[in-house]
């Protein structure tokens, strides 16, 4: 199955290279496999990743492969990441809330299938939800998708709902 997907992707990539050679020549074929790993972390580790004091705007999206509104908004997030990812002051991170045992069997194939070139962590800290959810935002009831915006460990905005692309870009531009 995976091999089939890879072959299909390669074909699609060759096709798009024909039309858009400069853009795709350098990166996507190798980049896809390099970046589409899922790192399983607990919240203590995740905090150090999203609260880095490096002057970057962190756009952190909490999602899961089984969450249909999450999956619906992901293509917009990927497009927005493409627009901004070269900006040294911008970083997008996806935090999957799938089960840790499904990191390699479900989450990673999902990333490959959907060509998601973005940093992805799987937050494996079920028993401390009641601590880390309010730590992310005191108003977060726990519904996903949810997106939080940080810089230098300071929260700039928080949305507990599916976001429109225009809304996402607006918040990024406001804070970048």
């Amino acid at each position: 199955m995976r091999i089939q997907i890879l072959i299909l992707m390669t074909m699609i990539n060759f096709n798009s290279q024909g039309q858009n050679t400069k853009k795709n020549m350098s990166g996507e074929l190798s980049g896809i496999n390099d970046n589409q790993k899922v790192t399983v972390v607990n919240f203590t580790k995740l905090e150090t990743i999203i609260n880095k004091k490096d002057n970057k705007l962190y756009v952190i999206n909490f999602w899961a492969t089984w969450c249909s509104p999450c999956v619906m908004e992901l293509p917009d997030f990927m497009e927005v990441n493409k627009i901004y990812h070269n900006n040294p002051k911008f970083k997008m991170i996806l935090v999957s809330l799938d089960l840790a045992k499904e990191a390699e069997t479900i989450v990673q194939p999902f990333l490959v299938k959907n060509k998601m070139n973005v940093e992805v962590y799987l937050l494996d800290d079920n028993k401390r939800m009641n601590q880390w959810i309010p730590a992310i935002d005191s108003k977060w009831s726990g519904a996903i998708p949810a997106t939080v915006f940080y810089r230098n460990g300071i929260k700039l905005d928080f949305k507990e709902s599916k976001m429109e692309k225009s809304e996402l870009i607006e918040i990024i531009n406001k804070n970048l």
């Binding site: 601590q131 730590a135 300071i154």
Partner: protein, 212 residues
């Protein structure tokens, strides 16, 4: 017990520090709905057996475990057996489970009334599984996700909200649960004590509604 105390103070501290920052943000995301201590509204909703069910039908009940849940959500499914267990343990003690599907089947077809009937049959639900037709009840409660629990206590004929949150602290593994939040709340109410941990949060599936 000590752990709960530490957890609570941590949460309060975190909540306070977050709130200071949050005040600067626009408050569009602020949740409406009940807080602990509020009077919960009654309702009359259609059960999977096509009969209407209302809280006022339960003359003998001391309270209710109202659970917004649904057919499709993996978190809700993970908790199904525990929801059945809650009703089994507490209905006879005066706290029956009342399950409500708040989702709009136009947005999530698996959560149709027929789907509910099938689910109730497959899992042999012993409690009502009601359909929030027109989605009028869940916004009043302030439910945002499935599963989302509201424990109500009958007090002078009114249903007072005593607990809002998750069923326990481990959706993924029922054998590795440290805090049974709902059971702790109902046990406290049954023994005439205040609920120690009256609100919790957990990840769940957002309630599906069509955008305005």
């Amino acid at each position: 017990m000590k752990n709960i105390g530490i957890n609570l103070s941590l949460i309060i501290l975190l909540a306070l520090s977050c709130q200071i920052k949050a005040q600067k943000m626009d408050n569009m995301s602020e949740h409406k709905g009940y807080k602990v201590g509020d009077i919960a509204t009654g309702f009359k909703l259609k059960n999977v057996d096509n009969k209407m069910v209302s809280l006022s039908d339960y003359k003998e009940a001391k309270g209710f475990i109202v659970i917004f849940t649904c057919n499709h959500c993996p978190y809700a499914k993970a908790y199904e057996n525990r929801i059945i267990g809650l009703n089994h343990k507490y209905a006879s003690k005066g706290y029956p489970v009342i399950a409500i599907n708040p989702n709009d089947p136009k947005v999530e077809p698996q959560d149709s009334f027929e789907g509910m009937q099938q689910r109730a049959k497959d899992k042999s639900f012993t409690f009502p599984y009601l359909f929030d037709e027109g989605q009028t009840i869940y916004p009043q409660y302030g439910a945002t996700r499935t599963p989302h629990v509201f424990v109500l206590q009958k007090t002078n004929g009114k249903n007072i909200v005593r607990y809002i949150g998750a069923i326990d602290d481990n959706y993924a593994d029922p054998n590795d649960v440290s805090h049974k939040y709902v059971e702790d709340a109902v046990d406290a109410l049954l023994s005439g004590k205040p609920v120690v941990q009256a609100t919790t949060v957990a990840i769940g599936c957002s309630i599906k509604a069509q955008k305005d």
